[in-house]
């Protein structure tokens, strides 16, 4: 279970998150929508400790992410993250990209790590690209590589930070399909996304962020239905339609 409790985040004078509460149970898929700058991505960074918070607490399986004694490297193994800029490691082949952290973080043998990596690359449909460098992959393939890389650590949770917004339109589908597949397999996911139809289809709950506040959270029927509770949600959804 991921528990976000009243977290506040400032970048200098900019108050990006203004007291967010969110609980995500195992097996749940939560999509976070909202305008750029509303704090959605920052929320993910605060959940896995890539950004510090000024107030509040985040718990992952009961362990406080921002507490002093927490082994953050261990905790992050359980929280796969996929970024907007796919961030494949350009100097490593696809297989090496995926096998590296199982080997050096989880201390698997090279053989074991390679097998894990291969399994995950097959999982995301890159079985014919094992020994290819990222520069020879399309954006969509690189993003699927990033997904496989995160999955290779065998996380319980996956965080997706606008995984498709930097992709050419024709490549979005393959990445969303991979994410759908994960959701179907029961992965617990928090997806920051601008893909409304994806959010509607896949989510158990959808959260709408507005200027650092979670305006509304509820099942997709509520958010995307005729009458979302918040006026801002309604306005946002009307504008993007």
């Amino acid at each position: 279970m991921i528990e976000v409790k009243n977290i506040h985040k400032n970048f200098g004078d900019l108050h990006v998150l203004k007291g967010i509460d969110l609980t995500v149970k195992k097996g749940e898929v939560v999509c976070v929508i909202g305008a750029s700058g509303s704090g959605k991505s920052t929320l993910l960074y605060c959940i896995n400790g890539l950004e510090k918070i000024q107030k509040g607490e985040v718990f992952v399986n009961g362990v406080s992410v921002h507490a002093k004694g927490t082994d953050i490297n261990k905790l992050r193994q359980n929280l796969g993250m996929v970024f907007q800029q796919w961030n494949s490691f350009p100097h490593l082949t696809a297989l090496e990209n995926v096998a590296l952290s199982p080997r050096i973080v989880k201390k698997m043998s090279k053989k074991e790590a390679n097998e894990t990596a291969k399994k995950q690359l097959i999982h995301v449909g890159l079985e014919d690209k094992l020994n290819v460098y990222p520069s020879a992959l399309s954006g969509g393939q690189q993003q699927r590589l990033a997904i496989a890389r995160a999955l290779a650590m065998d996380p319980e949770y996956m965080l997706f930070d606008e995984a498709t917004s930097a992709l050419d339109p024709e490549l979005v589908g393959e990445v969303l399909d991979t994410m759908r597949l994960l959701a179907k397999e029961g992965m617990t996911m928090i997806c920051v996304t601008h893909e409304m139809s994806f959010a509607r289809d896949v989510s158990d709950r959808v959260a709408y962020f507005h200027e650092g506040v979670m305006e509304e959270i509820g099942p997709p029927e509520q958010i995307f239905g005729k009458n979302p509770k918040s006026e801002n949600t309604k306005k946002f959804l009307t504008n993007i339609r």
């Binding site: 960074y45 490297n73 992050r76 800029q85 961030n87 590296l100 952290s101 973080v105 460098y133």
Partner: protein
């Protein structure tokens, strides 16, 4: 005034010159290796350390880049000598070249680090890698690729700069040449041959550099 070329004395000393050339290469390669390690450390300190340590790195880099290399050599020779620390000519030249090279490479490294998007570090950390694992496995290999050609330039520069060793009594290629030239007065001939030896040393370095790049950077 007539000047007749006499190449025979030079050719007689050619084995000595080549041996001195090997000395030049030796001190240059050592200075480059040490300079790379220290330069990397200086760059990391300058970018990440608190100011109490950072000023040391900054001062090193500033002095190395903004004063003549010759003065830096003199510092390790006559400067330290004045305090009773007498280093051998080899160590003086090695120290001076390393000091200078570390300063220049530190700035190259800094540029290299800045050229890598900070999301690479975030991605590595998000996989559970520690900060040092992320740097060693993900960031630094990419930095080396970026600054590889500037580093090759620096290596060439070190070889040519090592000729200053003559002025602190080091018998590297130029020192050796000067020694024989002044004994025989065939100054032009000696320096002509030495220039050619320098040329080939540099050519060999550039060739090796290409070979290493081809082997290392497959992406």
């Amino acid at each position: 005034m007539e000047y007749t070329f006499q190449w025979r004395p030079v050719m007689r000393q050619l084995p000595d010159l080549l041996e001195a050339g090997f000395m030049t290469l030796q001190v240059s390669i050592l200075a480059m290796i040490l300079g790379t390690v220290i330069g990397l450390a200086l760059a990391l300190v300058r970018m990440n350390a608190p100011w109490q340590v950072r000023w040391l790195a900054t001062t090193w880099i500033e002095v190395a880049r903004n004063t003549p290399a010759l003065f830096q050599l003199f510092f390790f020779g006559f400067g330290l000598g004045a305090f009773g620390i007498n280093l051998s000519p080899f160590v003086i030249v090695l120290s001076g070249l390393t000091f200078n090279t570390a300063g220049y490479l530190a700035e190259n490294f800094r540029g290299g680090f800045q050229a890598i998007p900070d999301t690479q570090l975030k991605a590595a950390r998000s996989l559970g890698m520690s900060a040092s694992q992320s740097y060693i496995r993900i960031i630094i290999p990419q930095v080396f690729r970026i600054i590889y050609h500037p580093m090759t330039n620096q290596m060439v520069w070190v070889v040519l700069m090592s000729s200053l060793g003559m002025l602190v009594g080091f018998r590297e290629l130029t020192g050796e040449t000067q020694f024989f030239a002044s004994r025989t007065f065939r100054i032009f001939e000696y320096f002509m041959v030495t220039a050619i030896i320098y040329y080939f040393i540099v050519k060999i370095i550039l060739g090796l550099s290409k070979l290493i790049a081809w082997r290392l950077f497959r992406y």
